[in-house]
């Protein structure tokens, strides 16, 4: 190769190295845009509404921050709960189904949490976001995230609330100013709520797969009505 060829090669190599370095740095340092803000509101429901407090204990062995998105039965986002934080949101009194997923991980039904709730106006309810890992079966060897929304019972609510009162908490940014993420996709939100409905109805979504594929996906952990149903009187009265 003559000198002219080498002169061309040098900038190409430099650009390539620079692009690879940027890509590597971006992959390691990229964090999803903030969809929540610190909240200073008291843990008391406003008149005519119920207040729900969702807290997510930090999951060990997890790089970065896992954020749990909670959707209502209409697939509308009601809260984003960062790992180790608690989030608050208002809800209309009455029956609800809340669905939760983490960072758009929806390929495994066990990664979608479901909570049935009957809420009363003026009361404050507490929900714990339980997360863990399970070894997937079949040909897949990686671990799958397991997520569940657990109802805190009336007896335990005062103690949990007194602890949460001193912790910082967050609330969802208003819809107009909230940055869009992949989890905002309507198809994804609808699918998450659909999976949550199936689980809360006692079904295993993996059974919808044809037989050869069914054995390749891990079994969905059974949903427990006893753990994941908020009764009306579970909320702290005003």
């Amino acid at each position: 190769m003559d000198g002219h060829g080498y002169r061309l090669l040098k900038p190409i190599a430099m650009v390539t190295v620079f692009a690879l370095t940027c890509a590597h740095a971006a992959a390691g340092c990229w964090t999803p845009p903030m969809t929540w803000r610190p909240s200073s509101r008291p843990l008391v429901a406003v008149p005519g509404r119920a207040l729900v407090v969702a807290f997510a204990p930090r999951l060990a062995r997890t790089p970065g921050v896992l954020t749990t998105r909670i959707l209502d039965e209409n697939a509308e986002t009601v809260a984003d709960v960062p790992d180790g934080d608690c989030a608050v949101f208002d809800a209309a009194p009455g029956e609800h189904l809340f669905a939760a997923s983490v960072d758009s991980q929806t390929g495994f039904a066990g990664s979608v949490g479901a909570l049935r709730a009957t809420l009363a106006a003026g009361r404050t309810y507490v929900v714990r976001v339980d997360k863990g890992w399970t070894r997937s079966g079949g040909m897949r060897s990686e671990e799958e995230l397991v997520l569940e929304l657990v109802a805190i019972r009336a007896d335990d609510v005062p103690a949990v609330l007194s602890q949460l009162r001193v912790d910082p908490r967050v609330e969802l940014l208003p819809k107009e100013g909230r940055p869009r993420t992949r989890a905002d996709d309507i198809d994804l939100r609808e699918a998450v709520v659909g999976i949550a409905r199936l689980r809360a109805g006692g079904d295993d979504p993996a059974l919808a797969l044809p037989e050869p594929l069914r054995s390749l996906v891990p079994r969905t952990p059974p949903w427990s009505a006893a753990r994941s149903t908020l009764q009306e009187d579970d909320g702290a009265p005003p």
Partner: protein
């Protein structure tokens, strides 16, 4: 006279509908639609009398739907499944998998590109009229290579197209309970 005939017709129709009502309602299966995680939410459409489609419910549905009508599964976007009839049982499971438009496009592109490579490779390999044996040998090698790549591409395309398509499998779960009345409207007549 015409008024009397119309009144008689209305009375007969009313009697038939009265008899038909409960038996027809008993035939409606409760439909449960499920779908695997990681796929789109299935929408269940029913065909109207005019032949158009209207939304009946979304997964998991869990409501009675009229047996004897045609239904199909679709996503919010993308191709619908083949239409199907609901059996006359108490409960029906519909296992649905909603395809994505991207899978249809990619599958078609892979299959068509592979087909072109396959045919082109075959033509290249068997085309006569090259006196130079080295050139002919090279052409055969390129042709066979193109055929192999084309065949793989067609296979991948068909797989993506098949699994990316919308499917529905209907499974009847429970037989109908015994009819309460011995008089039933079968659709073509009254059975005692």
């Amino acid at each position: 006279m015409q008024t009397q005939r119309r009144a008689l017709g209305t009375a007969v129709l009313g009697l038939a509908l009265t008899l038909a009502g409960p038996a027809w309602a008993d035939d409606d299966p409760v439909v449960h639609v499920r779908f695997p995680a990681g796929t789109l939410l299935p929408y269940l459409d029913q065909q109207t009398a005019g032949g158009s489609w209207e939304l009946a419910c979304r997964a998991p549905c869990d409501q009675p739907l009229a047996a004897g009508r045609r239904y199909r599964i679709r996503g919010r976007t993308g191709h619908p499944s083949e239409s199907f009839l609901l059996p006359r049982t108490a409960h029906v499971n519909v296992d649905a998998s909603v395809g994505t438009p991207a899978a249809t496009v990619f599958g078609s592109v892979f299959a068509v590109t592979g087909g072109v490579a396959l045919v082109g490779g075959l033509a290249l390999a068997v085309w006569p009229g090259d006196s130079d044996s080295d050139a002919r040998g090279g052409r055969v090698v390129v042709g066979i290579g193109s055929m192999i790549v084309g065949a793989i591409s067609v296979g991948v395309g068909l797989l993506v197209w098949h699994f990316g398509d919308t499917h529905a499998a209907v499974t009847p779960l429970a037989p109908l309970p015994q009819a309460k009345s011995s008089i039933q409207w079968t659709g073509t007549g009254i059975v005692f």
